[in-house]
């Protein structure tokens, strides 16, 4: 299996506008790659959650949006990085229903369910790196 990166774009996440721009780009790329409506909504929504987390909890950061190709199969991967406070209790944050921002606390757990690959690395003081990958469905 060979995973090829077709394109890679770095986008800043410094305000709500940027969250919108990141997810627009993700949606546009998903559509351009021929993702179905479900997969497009899923990856766009997951990207929206993680971008907003990087903004709200991580005090801003950046997203790297990559178009992938693995043995002819199209995919999208987005990596979110911030230098914020990090997540102290990762397990709890991933379990869902836990929020330090009086919100629903469903962003992380929901995003994880919406994508094919989910990766997160965070520790107090080290910031947070989250990355998601969604593959185009083969019927």
């Amino acid at each position: 299996m060979s995973r090829e990166v077709l394109s890679s774009v770095v986008m800043p996440i410094a305000g709500e506008d940027d969250v919108v721009l990141v997810r627009r780009r993700v949606r546009d790329l998903a559509q351009a790659q021929g993702f179905d409506a479900f997969a497009t909504a899923a990856v766009t929504t997951a990207a929206s959650e993680l971008a907003r987390n990087a903004l709200v909890h991580g005090k801003g950061g950046r997203a790297t949006v990559r178009e992938l190709n693995e043995d002819g199969r199209a995919g999208l991967s987005i990596q979110f990085q911030d230098q914020g406070p990090g997540i102290a209790d990762l397990e709890r944050a991933l379990a869902g229903g836990y929020s330090t921002a009086r919100s629903l606390g469903l962003g992380l757990s929901g995003a994880r369910r919406l994508v094919d690959e989910f990766d997160i690395d965070s520790a107090p003081g080290r910031g947070t790196m989250a990355s998601i990958t969604k593959w185009k469905r083969l019927y």
Binding site: L6, R24, R27, A37, T45, R52, S103, G110, A111
Partner: protein
């Protein structure tokens, strides 16, 4: 499958000719540059090494080259770029190549000033090498030709950045245009709130205020919130909808959510958001019917 970096800019033949003329790059310059190819080859490694030593020494440029592999990769590209100066050809393909180099740097977020600083460094390094290799008057002539081409390249880089900024601006404007909210009275005590576009925190607040005031003014009993025009329903949007519903209930109005497409429905479920506090109907028409029934009205078929 390989996709090339898109450059937001194109230069046709006529444009190229006039720009070449403006930078006074004549055939003599190109011949001179071609004759310097061996010189370029000889000093290639040395110059590229000095180049990256400088880049990695400075914090503002170092941050764009996170790891060793990416440095190795750009070094290779940089060598290509460098040798391109001595190709003796200045055609549309050359320009396209240069534009791509500019676009690549713009995309990784490198500020223009850092990029331009690197060109200046190139010229300094080349000036030193030329001075070591040739007697002063010849070195001067060589350097003039190199300088013309490097400045020409710089002009392309600047254009790439500007084109891309303009494009970004357009996208921002499109995002802004998505903001603003009408609230329509569809029937006595029934309001319709068609949401279109992106709902950020500010806008969600504005929506909630607008709708609460209207409901109080009109003594509305039902608000139909149609989200057919909302491209992404994430936890933030869902949270706003739920909070609006709760606030409306406090002033005695129900809310009905309509316009949920199948993929949005599924996304909401996968997110784990519970919207059972709201009435939901997939079609707006069904939402209106439900709203009317809440205010004690009904739509009926009239006999023809």
């Amino acid at each position: 499958m390989n996709r090339e970096t898109r450059t937001p800019l194109k230069l046709d033949d006529a444009e190229l000719r006039s720009r070449r003329a403006y930078f006074e790059i004549n055939d003599e310059d190109l011949e001179r540059l071609a004759s310097l190819r061996a010189f370029g080859q000889t000093h290639l490694d040395d110059i590229i090494e000095s180049f990256y030593r400088f880049i990695l020494e400075h914090h503002e440029s170092r941050v764009f080259f996170a790891d060793d592999t990416s440095v190795q990769r750009v070094k290779r590209l940089q060598k290509e770029y460098f040798l391109g100066l001595f190709s003796g050809v200045l055609d549309v393909r050359y320009v396209e190549n240069r534009l791509r180099v500019g676009a690549t740097h713009e995309r990784i977020g490198m500020p223009l000033r850092i990029y331009l600083g690197a060109y200046a460094l190139y010229l300094r390094l080349l000036l030193v090498k030329l001075g070591e290799e040739y007697e002063p008057s010849l070195a001067g002539m060589h350097f003039r030709s190199v300088q013309k081409l490097v400045y020409f390249d710089m002009s392309l880089a600047v254009d790439t950045y500007i084109a891309s900024y303009v494009e970004t601006l357009g996208r921002h404007q499109a995002a802004i245009r998505e903001l603003s909210t009408p609230c329509i009275r569809v029937y006595d005590r029934v309001l319709l709130l068609p949401l279109v576009g992106t709902i950020d925190t500010q806008r969600a607040q504005q929506i909630m205020e607008t709708v609460l005031v209207r409901v109080a003014d009109e003594q509305a009993r039902v608000v139909i919130v149609d989200i057919a025009g909302v491209p992404v329903v994430d936890t933030k949007v869902a949270d706003h909808l739920l909070k609006t519903t709760a606030a409306l209930r406090l002033i005695g109005a129900e809310s009905i959510l309509t316009g949920i497409s199948p993929h949005v429905a599924r996304t909401i479920v996968q997110l784990g958001v519970d919207i059972s506090a709201m009435y939901t109907k997939s079609r707006l028409a069904d939402g209106i019917e439900l709203a009317l029934s809440i205010v004690g009205k009904r739509i009926t078929q009239v006999a023809p």
